[in-house]
């Protein structure tokens, strides 16, 4: 499968949120307004791309080389946690304006299962270096897309008269289900 198909697959047909259920917490929780959703998406895409690049190297040159693959989860989560911390410090120092906008979302990314999920899928599918980087970036783009679409729909829904038991989580999950159905329409795009 070429790089292009890896990208299209992870953005549309196998979207991390709507197909693999990764990153559902921010998807259901944060996305009430478009701008916030977009900021969260960009911050996550950034961390995901870096995570893909770094964990690929760690997995290939340290874990596999020294036969210590059982340390996979511990080392991946350490990488992600320190990466998030690093990105936060970097932004604070050099791009304070961007930090103002993204700041509050950054710590949340550590426990976003989409980031760890990305690293695990990458290892499972045995992608090479370039494929991993594209996969990481595409996963972030797909996550942003789902978040922004959801934010738009929720903005409309808030105006409607929703039956009592469905308010909040219920209706959001229902919308997510319909979105997942809609995204199934893309499934012909990528040859299997």
């Amino acid at each position: 499968m070429g790089l292009f198909f890896i990208f299209v697959a992870i953005v549309l047909t196998q979207n991390f949120v709507l197909h693999y259920f990764l990153g559902i917490c921010p998807f259901l929780g944060v996305s009430d307004e478009m701008e916030g959703a977009f900021g969260m998406g960009i911050a996550t895409t950034f961390v995901m791309t870096l995570t893909a690049i770094i964990t690929w190297n760690i997995n290939t040159f340290i874990l596999k080389a020294f036969n210590v693959e059982f340390l996979e989860y511990v080392s991946f989560i350490l990488v992600i946690a320190s990466l998030v911390q690093l990105v936060e410090m970097f932004l604070k120092k050099y791009l304070p304006e961007l930090y103002e906008t993204l700041g509050i979302y950054l710590p949340l990314i550590t426990t976003n299962c989409a980031v760890l999920g990305l690293a695990l899928f990458m290892v499972l599918r045995e992608y090479n270096f370039v494929e991993s980087a594209v996969f990481g970036f595409g996963a972030g783009v797909g996550f942003t897309l789902a978040l922004v679409v959801m934010a738009g729909i929720r903005g409309e829904i808030n105006e409607e008269d929703i039956p009592e038991p469905f308010r909040g989580t219920g209706i959001t999950l229902l919308v997510a289900g319909l979105l997942a159905l809609a995204f199934m329409g893309f499934s012909g795009l990528v040859p299997t």
Partner: protein
């Protein structure tokens, strides 16, 4: 500590603060692995083990862990226990382990676990923390088992492999696909709110 306080620590996770239906935490495994009763149950048990074990460890170490690096320390403790579970599953129940796939290691980022450590285990003594994590674990298993049974029933008319609806039932593939997961959980959450709203 009084007995009814102990019971309260335990019971709140099952109904009043149910991690899935009320707190909406741990959604990824909830939606991803509940294609059948048995998958939901094994995921629930694995998560509960990690929750209880890391709760005990963190509660016992709570005075030794410096505040600034507590999240990182929690993550390392949690991911070590997840590695234990993953290796156990691979050795003893390989079929279920391969069905759960990457969602088993993803227990590391299950927000229920980190949430409970942050909100409870890092502040309270070992005994209370044990009851709290057991309660949350049972609440999580309850949610996964219900969702898994509903999806399996409407997918192929069975629960836990036992045929309930007979051979006339035409299987609904949508129930084991992502859309079915979202929609059934949505209906269950609404039902839960309806049932607990009258209290």
């Amino acid at each position: 500590m009084k007995v009814n306080e102990m019971i309260k620590d335990f019971v709140k996770g099952i109904w009043k603060e149910n991690p899935v239906f009320v707190q909406v935490l741990g959604m990824c495994p909830t939606l991803a692995v509940t294609t059948s009763l048995i998958n939901g149950l094994s995921m629930g048990l694995a998560t509960t083990f990690v929750l209880v074990a890391s709760g005990l460890a963190i509660s016992a170490l709570r005075k030794l862990i410096p505040d600034q690096v507590r999240i990182a320390s929690f993550m390392i403790i949690i991911s070590s226990f997840v590695t234990v579970v993953k290796l156990l599953f691979e050795a003893h129940i390989p079929e279920i382990s391969s069905q759960l796939g990457p969602y088993l290691p993803l227990i590391v980022t299950n927000c229920i676990i980190l949430g409970r450590q942050e909100a409870f285990a890092s502040k309270e003594p070992v005994g209370r923390s044990l009851l709290d994590s057991l309660g949350m674990g049972v609440g999580f298993i309850f949610a996964l088992v219900v969702l898994g049974s509903v999806r399996e029933l409407f997918y192929q008319g069975t629960i836990g492999g036992f045929e309930l609806l007979g051979s006339w039932y035409k299987s609904m593939v949508i129930m084991v696909q992502p859309a079915g997961a979202f929609i059934s959980l949505s209906l269950l959450v609404a039902l839960f709110h309806k049932l607990s709203g009258s209290e």
